[in-house]
């Protein structure tokens, strides 16, 4: 059974387009045949194999993509040599060589602009209904090909399509840009910064009295050749990376990396006699910066996850243990998902203290941190300062003082504490558990997103930032939180 065209066609499209372009340009000869042969082999293998990973493996083992690219490169080089040889016949023709360069640059602008326009048009004409239909048809074919796999009838697929269309339409009513990335694509891929230096080069080339050698020299001396490679765009991207890193505030290292990369760019630009960083030096030194922080980030993330208020960290476990004693526990997640929710609740009550003790043992074993040290640790303070801590100061203090002391293996929460927990969990009492600034990270990201893509764009794409929890606790104040001192 061949690789489904849904997957194969996009993979081979680039090669087909490149080959067609060469044919349209009138190319011929051994390298064109080489390209055709490599592509045909890729197509044939796509018909012989059903497993995409095996297909990719064979492509790499037979070096087909490299062979195609190699023939393409040699074809282009041969074409350039032919043009260059015909230029030198009949003596040095400066005007012709200069014109050829300028024409190539004009062609480059056209190509860049055409690609951009095509990308934006594609984004604007994206039809989510059409896309989901294609995905479901692929799923139907893919499942049919699996031995013992689920078979979907045409009627079932039609029903699924109809339901998906309804859901998509409903989503678009609330979030008009949910399936429209044209604004983002247009902005991110805006070729203006690349086209500008190319146009400057064209203008230089078309100046009165310009010669080909002078043109070549001036473009180098003015850094226009480097600008054309996208130096300005690179710097702009690094500035955006800093803003993004600060808006996400995942950890201090991502921000440090982004800031150091920009400083590096400016440092190398200042050192360079043409005012542009050498791309190879920039790339290698940037790589060194990322490597410098890799282990620090791994440690930060590990510690954070171990104590965390999400993803089954210690604080989340304490919270769960306390909730498990409340009457409504069997009716909420995670216990409601169990086959026997009431039994699952008892399981949590009985086993969670032993699990938490083990998690604390590992935290101490690996990082020398006791329970009390969590709140002094930079990862905890960062989570408070950047609003990523789920719990309020009040509830965190409560977990430390009222829940943790009882959370020992073979012990249970005393009845007076259960009553207090029931009160905290009750819908009739104000929510003092949730961090009142829990929406700030999302708001920060929304603000960054809107500043980049236009006011209102975040909501149009991802929906309104809704305060669904109505927290009533005081905001965090680390200086008054004695466990952090």
């Amino acid at each position: 059974m061949p690789i489904d065209s849904f997957m194969l066609d996009p993979m081979l499209k680039t090669y087909k387009d490149m080959l067609q372009q060469c044919i349209d340009d009138g190319s011929e000869g051994e390298h064109l045949i080489g390209m055709e042969t490599a592509l045909k082999r890729m197509e044939d293998l796509g018909q012989e194999h059903s497993d995409i990973a095996a297909y990719m493996g064979i492509l790499m083992q037979e070096d087909l993509q490299a062979k195609f690219s190699d023939h393409y490169g040699k074809l282009i080089a041969a074409t350039s040599k032919t043009q260059s040889d015909s230029n030198s016949e009949g003596g040095y023709d400066d005007a012709s060589m200069l014109q050829q360069s300028v024409n190539a640059l004009k062609g480059a602008i056209k190509s860049i602009q055409d690609n951009f326009d095509s990308m934006v048009a594609g984004a604007k004409s994206y039809d989510p209904h059409e896309n989901i239909d294609a995905e479901m048809e692929f799923a139907q074919r893919h499942l049919a090909a699996q031995q013992g796999g689920m078979q979907l009838t045409d009627e079932q697929v039609a029903q699924m399509k109809s339901e998906s269309h309804t859901n998509i339409d409903k989503e678009i009513e609330e979030k008009p840009a949910a399936y429209d990335s044209s604004v983002e694509i247009e902005l991110i891929n805006d070729p203006t910064a690349i086209i500008k230096p190319i146009q400057e080069l064209i203008d230089l080339g078309e100046q009165e009295g310009m010669s080909y050698p002078k043109f070549l020299r001036l473009q180098m001396e003015r850094g226009l050749d480097k600008a054309m490679e996208g130096n300005g765009v690179i710097r702009e991207a690094k500035v955006e990376n800093i803003k993004q890193a600060k808006a996400s505030a995942i950890n201090p290292y991502n921000i440090a990396i982004a800031e150091e990369e920009l400083s590096l760019f400016d440092e190398l630009a200042a050192e360079n006699k043409f005012g542009c960083p050498n791309p190879k030096e920039l790339s290698l030194k940037t790589n060194s910066i990322e490597r410098k922080y890799a282990n620090k980030i791994a440690i930060w993330e590990d510690i954070e996850e171990r104590w965390g208020s999400i993803n089954f960290g210690i604080l989340e476990d304490l919270n769960h243990w306390a909730i498990s004693y409340c009457k409504h526990a069997p009716f909420i997640k995670p216990w409601s998902l169990a086959k026997d929710p009431k039994k699952a609740v008892i399981n949590t009550q009985d086993t969670q203290p032993g699990i938490i003790k083990e998690k604390l043992r590992l935290l101490k074993k690996y990082y020398g941190l006791e329970f009390e040290d969590i709140f002094k640790h930079p990862t905890f303070k960062w989570s408070v300062e950047h609003f990523t801590n789920d719990f309020s100061q009040e509830y965190t203090t409560y977990l430390i003082e009222k829940i943790y002391p009882h959370c020992k293996p073979f012990s249970h929460l005393p009845s007076e504490q259960i009553a207090e927990q029931e009160k905290i969990e009750s819908k009739d009492t104000p929510d003092i558990k949730t961090n009142p600034e829990y929406l700030k990270p999302l708001i920060n990201q929304k603000e960054y997103y809107d500043s980049r893509f236009g006011e209102g764009r975040f909501e149009s794409k991802y929906g309104k930032v809704k305060n669904e929890l109505d927290p009533k606790a005081e905001v965090w104040n680390l200086s008054s939180f004695r466990y952090s001192q």
């Binding site: 490169g73 080089a77 010669s211 083990e358």
Partner: protein, 218 residues
């Protein structure tokens, strides 16, 4: 009337200056000095075609060599043998290249082969991705819990171990499609390029590695 000869001499001088005083581009500088000298030795523009010979190709080779030397030094410093090997192959192979297209093919082949080796090497990181699962095994094995839950916890531990073995089998099966000899070798993760991704200290890393290896029997 434009003095093309003088303008070309100025142009090639500028090319020299691009790499002057840059220790990373010694070969490029030397190649540019040679081509600039060839140009400067001309009294007529027409002489250059004969004098230049394959000096432009040598400039391209020199630039490639300089940049691969930079990468080679970088990957040596960061103990990345498979990435360094790409550089070694290109630098060595440039000596046999007759023209720029040969050099491009050389680089393409070296990078393609190198990518396969890098992918096969990075596929050895299963141990790292299983660190949290190893934690769970330790937690569920040692947690102080009532007797009635012990068999359930033991079953959870076994399930995690079974999934690790399944994961290892799948990894080997997938990687053998590209490299028939590929086998999971978790000790590879102790090498610096992988080790930097592990948050634990050396002693604890080796301890967890030993446990993982015994589970997957590798």
């Amino acid at each position: 009337m434009i003095d093309y000869l003088s303008e070309y001499k100025e142009y090639y001088k500028s090319r020299e200056l691009r790499y002057a005083d840059n220790p990373n581009y010694k070969n490029s500088y030397e190649a540019e000095v040679n081509i600039s000298a060839a140009m400067n030795s001309c009294n007529e523009l027409d002489e250059f075609q004969e004098k230049v010979g394959n000096l432009p190709d040598k400039c391209a080779f020199a630039l490639m060599k300089d940049e691969y030397l930079m990468e080679q030094k970088h990957f040596e410093k960061h103990e990345e043998p498979f990435r360094k090997l790409i550089c070694d192959r290109v630098i060595e192979g440039l000596n046999s290249c007759n023209n720029v297209q040969d050099a491009i093919t050389l680089a393409l082949d070296a990078n393609n082969e190198g990518s396969m080796a890098i992918n096969a090497d990075e596929a050895q990181r299963e141990f790292i991705y299983n660190l949290r699962e190893l934690d769970k095994i330790e937690i569920y094995s040692n947690a102080e819990i009532p007797e009635k839950y012990k068999s359930e916890f033991a079953a959870s531990v076994q399930e995690i171990k079974d999934k690790m073995v399944e994961g290892m089998n799948r990894q080997e099966s997938d990687n053998r499609k590209f490299n028939p000899d590929w086998t999971e070798k978790p000790e590879t993760c102790l090498e610096r390029r992988h080790r930097r991704l592990i948050p634990l200290n050396d002693e604890h890393t080796k301890e967890q590695l030993s446990i993982y290896k015994s589970i997957i029997n590798r």
